[in-house]
Amino acid sequence: MNAFAPGLPTPQVTSQEKALGRATYAGDLKIAGMLHAKLLRSPHAHARILNVDVSRAIALPGVRAVFTGDDVPQRAWGVKHKQQHVLAREVVRFVGEEIAAVVAIDEDTAEEALDLIRVEYEPLPALIDPSQALEPNAVKVHPGGNLADEIGIVRGDVDSAFAEADIVHEETYTTHSQYPGYMEPMATLATTDGSGKLTVWTATQSVFLARQRLAEALDRPVSTVRVVQPTVGGGFGGKIIEERSSVIAGFLAAATDRPVRLCLSRIDDMLSGAFSVPMKIRLKMGMTRDGRITAKDVSIRADCGAYAGLAPEVMLVTAMRSDNMQRLEHTRSHAQLVYTHTMPRGAFRGFGGTQMAFALNSHLTAMADLAGIDPIELHRQNAIRTGDLSIHGWKIGSCGLPECLNQIEGAIGWTEKRSRPKQRGVLRRGIGMAAAMHVSGNRTMGNWDGSTIVLKVNEDGRVVVLTSEADVGQGSNTMLSQICAHELGVPLSHVSVQTPDTDFTPYCLGSIASRVTINAGKAMIKAAREARETILAAAAEKLGCDAIDLTIEDGVVQSTSNANHFAKLPDICRYHIFRHGGEGIHIKATHDPDTVMMDGDHYGNIAPAYSFAAQAVEVEVDTETGQVRLIESWLSDDCGKAINPLAVHGQSNGAAVQAIGWTLCEELQFEEGRLMNGNLADYTMPTADSVPEMHSSIVESMDPNGPLGAKGASETAILPGAPAIANAVFDAIGVRITDLPITPEKILAAIAAQKEKRDA
C-alpha cells in the first residue's frame, strides 16, 4: 500500500508550490499590454445618481477609459432575483456599491483618477434597520417592496405537540454578519482575443457558475466566455457567485478590448460585502419531562442587504436543515428575507447553518437545564440515527452523531468538569457543547448534482486529471490524487490534477455545499477503475495472459499467477497508442448521486449523505473585563471515511477557529450603513496566538453512498462553535448571551444586570 493511500495523512499536493511562492494567483498574472482598474464606490446608502462627470479623470495622463452605469448592459443579473448591473445605474443601494470604473496604465494612476470623478447624488432616505423593512411606511429598496423571500414549512401538528409538552421554552437569538476573511482578496485578470472571446482568470469556487453569471451580466453567449481558475487563496462561500468584481473586470476587458487586471485591496474587498446573512431567530420548543423533543416552532427574519444573491437559499437552510439532526415529528418554520440599504450578504461556510445552530444549541442546553438533564444526554436521546428518514425526507445513510458526542464528552472530561463546584473568583471557567449537521452535496441547481472526471494516462504511465471542481485551499486536488493513485496503482506524485478551465475541463458545479469529496470522489473512483481495466486489457493482450490475473502496483503491471508476466506501466501505455487502431488512454466518468430536488413543500432527499459534528469547549470569563478566553476545544467530525485525515483536521480546526472569530472577536461596525472597521487591524480575526491548541477527532461512519465511505468535511465543523462557547459562558457566569458576538461589553452588562437582580 502506498504511503498516501486514502485514509493516510497526506500533505497537500499543492503545498510545495505554495511554500516556494510559486503558486500563481489571479493577481500574479501578467499579459503584455495589461491595464489596471480601480472602482469608485458610493458614499451613500441610498441615493439617486444625478450626474457623473468623468472628464477630468479621462484627461489624466495614463487613464485609458472611464465607465459608469450608463455604459454597462441594461440586462440585470442575479441568482434568482435579477436586480444587479455591472455598475450601478441611476440609483445606489448601499455604501460601497460600484458606480464607476477607471482603467489606466497602472493602479496608482487609476486610483488618482478616481479622485477626479465628480458625482452628483441626490441622497434619499435609507432603510438600514431590517426590523423596519416590512413596516407599511418603510422606504423601499426595490420597487417590488422589501420582502425578498418568504418560506413556510409545516410538518405534523405543532400546536397539539406543544400541548403534549411538559416544558416549553421560547427565546429570541440574533446573529451578526461575518467576513469570510480569505487570505486572498478578490482578484481577476480578463482579456479578449482577436475573435472577441473573453477569457477571465479569477478567484472562484466554480468556473462554470462564474461563466454563467459573466455571460448573463455582460449579455453575451456563454461560449464567448472562458473562465480559468488560478490558485485561489480561500473562498468560504464568498467566491461562489455573489462577488461583483470579476464581473466588472470582464466587462472592462470587453469594453476596452485590452487585458484588464482588477485586484481588490483588503479594504475594497470588505466594502464589497460578501458577508454572511445576519438573522433574528425566534425559537420555541416543547419537550417532555424525560427529554423527548415534541415540537419546534421557528421564525426567522434575515437581512440580505441590497441584493438577494444566494441569501434565499441560505435562509432556507436556516429554516429547516437542523430539523433533520433529530427525530422530530412536529415542526413549523416561517422565514422572511428582507432588503435593506446595506451591503449584500449571502453564502458563507455553513450556508445558513451557523445561525440556526447557535439558536438551537443555546436553546437545547437551556432546556436540558430546565429538565435537569445533561445536554449531551439530551442530544444523544433525540439524535437521528443511521437508517432513519428525517422529517423533511432526508435518508440518513450514516450518522456518527452519537459517537461524536461520546468523543467530546470523554475528551474534555465533561462529567468531571460539570460536577466541579462553581467558581466564585474573578476568573470563572465553564464548559459547553453543541452539535450540528450538514449536507454532503445538494441537488439544488437544476436537476443535477453530478461530477465529471476526465482522466488521461500519458505514454509514461503518469496521470492527468481534468476536473472543474475547485481546490480553493481545502484540499480536493489531494483527495482526488489519493483516490486516483490508489485505484490505479501509481505513486501519488504521478498524478496531477489540472486547473479548472471552462474550455478544457468538464462541466462541474464547483466547491459548494461540501459536495466535492462525495461526488467528484465517486467520479474519480469510476474513472480510475475504468482506466485500470483499459490498461489491464492492453497488458493482457501484450503479455498474452488473462486480464483477471493482472494487478498494477507502484507503476508495474504484474501477473498474480506467473511472476514472469509483468510489464512497466509506460510500456503498456505506449502499446495502447502505438498499434494499428490505437489511441491514448482517455477516460471520462460521471457520477450523479441518487438524490432528488426538494419538492414545492421543501421535502425530499437532497444529498447523498449527511455529515455531523459535535464540539465541547471550556472557557474562562474575566468578570471584571468581560473577556472570554477559550481554554480548551474538542471537536469531533463525522465525515465518513477520512480520505486525508491531515486535511480533515485542518478543516475542522480552521472551521472551529472561524467560529471562535464569529463568536468572540469579529464584529463589523456600521454607522448608517457605512462600514467603520473595514481593515484587518480593526476587524480582528483570531490569530494563532489567540486560540488554545485546537483538538479535533474524526468519526468514520462510512457512508454507503460515499467514495470509500467518505462524506464532506469542510463545513460541518464551523457550526457548533458559537453555541458551545455561549453555553460555556452560561456555565461559567450564569448569564446567557443570545445575541452574537459575545463582546466584553455584553458580558459586563449581563453580570451587572444579574447582580442588580440578586441585590434587589
Binding site: 488618482e112 473568583g425 489567540s690
Partner: protein
C-alpha cells in the same frame, strides 16, 4: 501609493540635513509598519522618505552604570525583548517589548518609530514613562534631551520639531528598591493593540508604598500620570480594600478615549480592573480570589 524618493543617510547629521533640505515634503522612515499603511491608503503622500535603516549606531543597546540603559531609537521591539542587557537591568521593558502587537511588527517596527508616531493604542510610552525615561532628540542645530513626561502631547502628537530625529531612549540606572509592573489588556485575545495598559512603579517599604508612579496608557489620548491615585497610595499599606479603592480612583481620574475598540465606560472598567490587579500584585496580594 504615490511615488516618492527614498533616501538612505549614513549618519545622523546627514539624516537631519536631508530632513532640513526637503522640509515638509520629507518623512522619516523608521520601520514602516504604520507609515506604509498610511501611504498605501494615501492618508499621507510625502515626496521624500528619509530612511534611518542604515544608521547602525542607532540600533545599539548598552548599559552604563552611571547613565543607565541606553536604547537606540532604531532598535526593533524584538531586539529589545531579546537583549540580555535589557533583560538583566529592566526585565519589565523586555517583557513589554516581547508582547507588543504581533511577531511581524516586533521584527520590523522600531521603538523610536513607535514613540514618534504616538498612536495611543500601543505599549511603550506608558511603560517608559513609569521608568522615568529621557529621550535624546537631534536636529540640524544640535541635540537636546527631554523627559518622557513632556514627550507625548496628545493623540498622534509629540514634542518634536519638524526636521528632528529621536535618536536614543535612556532609562536611569535601576533603583533596586523600586519594582515596576506593567500590564496590557486586549479587548479580545485576537486583538493586537491594547485597549488599555497600566504601568506601576513602587518602592515597597515594609508593606507601605512609596515613590509611586502610576501611568495609564492606550486608553487615553496620551499616557496619563494618575497623580490622585499616586497620592492615595503613597505611604499606605496596601490591602485588598486599598487596591479596590485605588482602582475606583484610577477609573475616575483618567480621561478615556471612546472609539470602536471600546467606549469610555468600557475603558474605565478595564483600567479599574488593571489597577486593582497591579496594585494587589505589587503588594503580593492575590487578586483572583477577590470578588
Amino acid at each position: 501609493m504615490r511615488d516618492f524618493h527614498y533616501l538612505e543617510p549614513r549618519t545622523v547629521s546627514e539624516a537631519t540635513a536631508m530632513l532640513a533640505d526637503h522640509g515638509e515634503e520629507a518623512c522619516v522612515f523608521a520601520g514602516g509598519t504604520a507609515l506604509i499603511l498610511a501611504l498605501r491608503q494615501r492618508m499621507m503622500a510625502p515626496g521624500v522618505l528619509v530612511s534611518l535603516g542604515q544608521l547602525e549606531e542607532m540600533r545599539a543597546i548598552r548599559f552604563d552604570p552611571k547613565e543607565g540603559l541606553l536604547i537606540g531609537a532604531m532598535a526593533r521591539h524584538n531586539d529589545i525583548a531579546r537583549s540580555k542587557i535589557v533583560r538583566q537591568h529592566y526585565p519589565v521593558v523586555a517583557e513589554m517589548a516581547g508582547g507588543l502587537a504581533n511577531p511581524q511588527v516586533r521584527n520590523q517596527a522600531t521603538i523610536g518609530g513607535n514613540l514618534c508616531y504616538a498612536d495611543p493604542s500601543t505599549d511603550p510610552p506608558a511603560c517608559l514613562l513609569a521608568l522615568g525615561a529621557e529621550l535624546t532628540i537631534k536636529g540640524q542645530h544640535g541635540a537636546r534631551r527631554i523627559p518622557m513626561d513632556e514627550f507625548n502631547v496628545d493623540y498622534f502628537t509629540v514634542a518634536m520639531e519638524p526636521g528632528e530625529i529621536l535618536t536614543q531612549i535612556r532609562l536611569p540606572p535601576p533603583d533596586q528598591e523600586v519594582t515596576t509592573f506593567y500590564r496590557r489588556h486586549l479587548r479580545t485575545p485576537a486583538e493586537h493593540r491594547p485597549v488599555a495598559n497600566l504601568a506601576l512603579a513602587v518602592r515597597n517599604r515594609g508593606g507601605a508604598f512609596e515613590d509611586v508612579r502610576l501611568i495609564v496608557g492606550a486608553a487615553t489620548p496620551a499616557p496619563q500620570l494618575l497623580d490622585g491615585v499616586q497620592d492615595y497610595l503613597s505611604g499606605r499599606s496596601v490591602t485588598a480594600e486599598v487596591a479596590a479603592e485605588a482602582a475606583d480612583r484610577a477609573a475616575e481620574e483618567m480621561f478615556p478615549i471612546s472609539d470602536g475598540r471600546g467606549d469610555e465606560g468600557f475603558r474605565r472598567q478595564v483600567v479599574r480592573a488593571l489597577t486593582r490587579r497591579l496594585v494587589a500584585e505589587a503588594a503580593n496580594l492575590d487578586w483572583k480570589e477577590t470578588e
